[in-house]
């Protein structure tokens, strides 16, 4: 059976440290943006951590939620792309083919989560970050949309390795950069088609929710709500 990659994020474990954000930048050759551009809202963090305050002062608690591409099964970004740059790959990922993108930015408008990032200028890195580009990931040029790929390069590498060794992929063998770098192991990545995988078990939790369920996008990122947020503080 084909893989169906998904991610579960336990919000009880997330401390908001943003190690995932840094790791994602390093892994995926994401350009850094200067302060002026950032102030305009042009930061490019394929994953970013949202902070919410819960409760009334003084009984107040921070809730951190990492938001990345939700890899929707019914992704609004896909049908609107005129050039098939944004398409559904056989493993259910919302792939973005940079070379096909002509920059209509329609996908980014259609995305209810706004997790698509546009290259307003040619990419640049704060020194010395330009020396650590990942050779497995292409660098995107000006005018092209980009987004989280679930570290597709790692998925492919693991699949090739398993095939070469003539065996099945093991659960937990593929780790996107954000998952690998998460100190409290709040993030888990795996195959949702494998009922015994850790991600499948977490997806079955009573705490499991998805973001903007009412929009009907069928995301493959599952959030485990904070335990005590159900009761009164």
């Amino acid at each position: 059976m084909a893989h169906r990659w998904g991610m579960a994020i336990d919000l009880d474990r997330c401390t908001g440290c943003e190690a995932c954000v840094a790791a994602c930048h390093a892994e995926n050759n994401i350009a850094t943006v200067n302060a002026d551009q950032a102030a305009k809202g042009r930061t490019m963090h394929w994953i970013h951590v949202e902070r919410y305050w819960e409760g009334e002062f003084p009984n107040i608690r921070a809730r951190f939620q990492p938001v990345l591409c939700q890899q929707c099964d019914a992704a609004p970004c896909e049908p609107v792309c005129p050039t098939y740059a944004s398409y559904h790959n056989p493993e259910g990922l919302n792939a973005q083919v940079y070379n096909r993108c002509i920059g209509t930015r329609y996908c980014a408008n259609a995305c209810p989560y706004s997790v698509r990032y546009f290259n307003w200028f040619n990419p640049a890195w704060d020194k010395p970050l330009q020396l650590q580009l990942n050779p497995d990931v292409s660098v995107r040029e000006v005018g092209v949309m980009e987004k989280c790929t679930f570290c597709n390069q790692r998925i492919l590498a693991a699949e090739i390795k398993a095939k070469a060794e003539n065996r099945e992929l093991q659960d937990g063998e593929v780790k996107p950069a954000c998952v690998q770098s998460c100190p409290p192991t709040a993030m888990v990545f795996g195959d949702l088609n494998d009922a015994n995988s850790q991600v499948s078990r977490m997806a079955g939790s009573v705490r499991a929710t998805i973001l903007l369920e009412e929009v009907g996008t069928l995301p493959k990122v599952i959030y485990l709500e904070r335990e005590s947020s159900h009761g009164n503080e």
Binding site: E50, V80, T83, G103, N109, F118, N119, V142
Partner: protein, 469 residues
């Protein structure tokens, strides 16, 4: 004023020689002021082009659009111009089909707006592209990339709708120009004659040619109507198909079409008034034309206010949180000034002017039309931007304001539109000469045709012989 005599007002009953003289004057005579105007328009429009090149070399980032407001001025202008383009062909086709005789001096004026507004409007999706040099990837052609464009994308529908509409309107505009160009050819000498000989496509004015022209125009008038309606519907679907709060609405198709016709008629009235003044066509474009179009504009104004009321009321009553954020930002937030300006420009000011007969003069309709053009631009802006500023999640709100880049390019294309029209009015009689003379052509043309068949090689001055000559 004598011209207000309604019974006689729409009858233009001059000697054909006078009509020819009046209407061909701009073709044969170029004033110094005309050259000055053209140079001024080019000078004002060029910075827009230069800035566009700057945007291509630097990147889209020089414009004000950002995350999450990925569409801004360019898409506003796109929708605005495509809306303006609904003036001509649609109105002209309807008036032709119902055989409204008063249409005759108006149709070409209107059809030209369509073609040029489309030509300008169609630039905008390309100006707005991140990689504008690859715009042709929307065209389905066998390529080394081995894939078709995505036919599920409203942008691809847009491409087909607009190119169909442009082709259709161009045909609709050019067909009835042929006899008039032949008339210029027959009167011209030297280089001008050679150019118009090519443009006139060998028109001789035989009954057969007249018959074919009339059949072709009737067919085109029927075909162009659904095309025009579909074009702005599809433009509206660029928005309505995306799950963005306030965009995802079933009313958008008819709402956009009504708004397009509304702004189109307004543009037509302004252009007619300018052409009337500049080319001294007071005897041809009469108060009755402005009065009739003013009534049409009044109907569209009411239709528009109905649509905006229907759209706003259902959103407000539905009270969905995501939509309400965008709704209130328009109603009483950041965009409230623009919203109420729009309501004033599109309804509160023009409605009394157009409803009261005494005010529905040329000056009155032009004032009403000017506010409507401004109001309709604001309407497009308020459709595009505020919903994108207020998407579902709180982290996802942003704000948009244009930079000098977008403003310069916008200004440049407005100048470009005027320039195209000014050039058109020079090379083409802006009022269709043969149509103005209506049924007069059939009889003498038959005689002329008899001459032509004797020796078709001789180019006779017979395109439209004078009946009283």
């Amino acid at each position: 004023m004598a011209m207000n005599d309604a019974a006689q007002a729409n009858v233009i009953d001059f000697a054909p020689e006078k009509i020819r003289k009046d209407l061909l004057l701009p073709v044969f005579h170029t004033s110094r002021r005309y050259y000055a105007l053209v140079i001024a328009l080019v000078a004002l429009g060029l910075p827009g082009m230069a800035v566009y090149l700057y945007q291509i070399t630097e990147g889209m980032g020089v414009a004000g659009i950002t995350r999450p407001v990925f569409w801004g001025f360019y898409i506003t202008n796109f929708v605005f111009w495509i809306g303006i383009s609904h003036a001509g062909t649609l109105i002209s086709a309807i008036l032709r089909l119902v055989n409204a005789t008063w249409r005759r001096p108006v149709t070409r004026c209107a059809e030209a707006i369509t073609v040029f507004a489309l030509a300008i409007g169609a630039q905008y999706p390309i100006i707005h592209l991140g990689r504008a040099w690859l715009f042709f990837w929307l065209i389905p052609y066998p390529s080394e990339r081995g894939i078709w464009p995505n036919f599920r994308s409203p942008l691809v529908w847009d491409f087909f709708a607009i190119s169909t509409y442009l082709t259709g309107s161009l045909t609709f505009l050019l067909l009835p120009i042929i006899p008039d160009w032949a008339m210029v050819r027959d009167r011209a000498t030297g280089l001008r004659q050679r150019i118009y000989t090519v443009l006139a496509l060998g028109w001789r004015g035989t009954p057969r040619e007249w018959h074919r022209l009339e059949v072709a125009m009737r067919i085109m008038a029927v075909i162009i109507l659904p095309v025009a309606v579909s074009v702005h519907t599809i433009v509206s679907w660029d928005f309505a198909m995306a799950p963005v709060p306030m965009w995802h609405s079933t009313v958008f198709g008819p709402y956009f079409v009504a708004g397009a016709i509304f702004s189109g008629i307004a543009a037509l009235i302004i252009v007619m008034a300018l052409v009337r003044k500049a080319l001294h066509l007071e005897e041809y474009l009469k108060p009755v034309h402005f009065d009739n179009l003013g009534k049409l504009l009044l109907v569209m104004s009411l239709l528009w206010i109905y649509f905006i009321f229907a759209e706003r009321l259902t959103v407000w009553y539905g009270n969905q949180p995501a939509e309400m954020a965008a709704f209130w930002s328009i109603q009483r937030g950041r965009f409230a000034v623009l919203f109420w300006t729009m309501i004033s420009c599109n309804f509160l000011i023009p409605f009394p002017i157009l409803a009261i007969k005494k005010l529905r003069t040329i000056a009155g309709t032009v004032i009403a039309s000017s506010t409507i053009v401004v109001g309709m631009w604001l309407e497009r802006f308020l459709i595009v931007v505020p919903p994108l500023e207020h998407k579902y999640l709180p982290y996802d709100w942003g704000s948009y304001s244009p930079t000098w880049v977008e403003i310069t390019i916008t200004f440049g294309t407005f100048m470009g539109m005027i320039l195209l029209y000014v050039l058109f009015a020079k090379f083409v009689p802006i009022i269709s000469i043969w149509e103005l003379k209506g049924p007069q052509h059939s009889q003498p043309i038959a005689e002329a045709a008899a001459n032509a068949t004797v020796n078709p090689a001789i180019r006779l001055d017979n395109t439209l012989p004078s009946t009283n000559g």
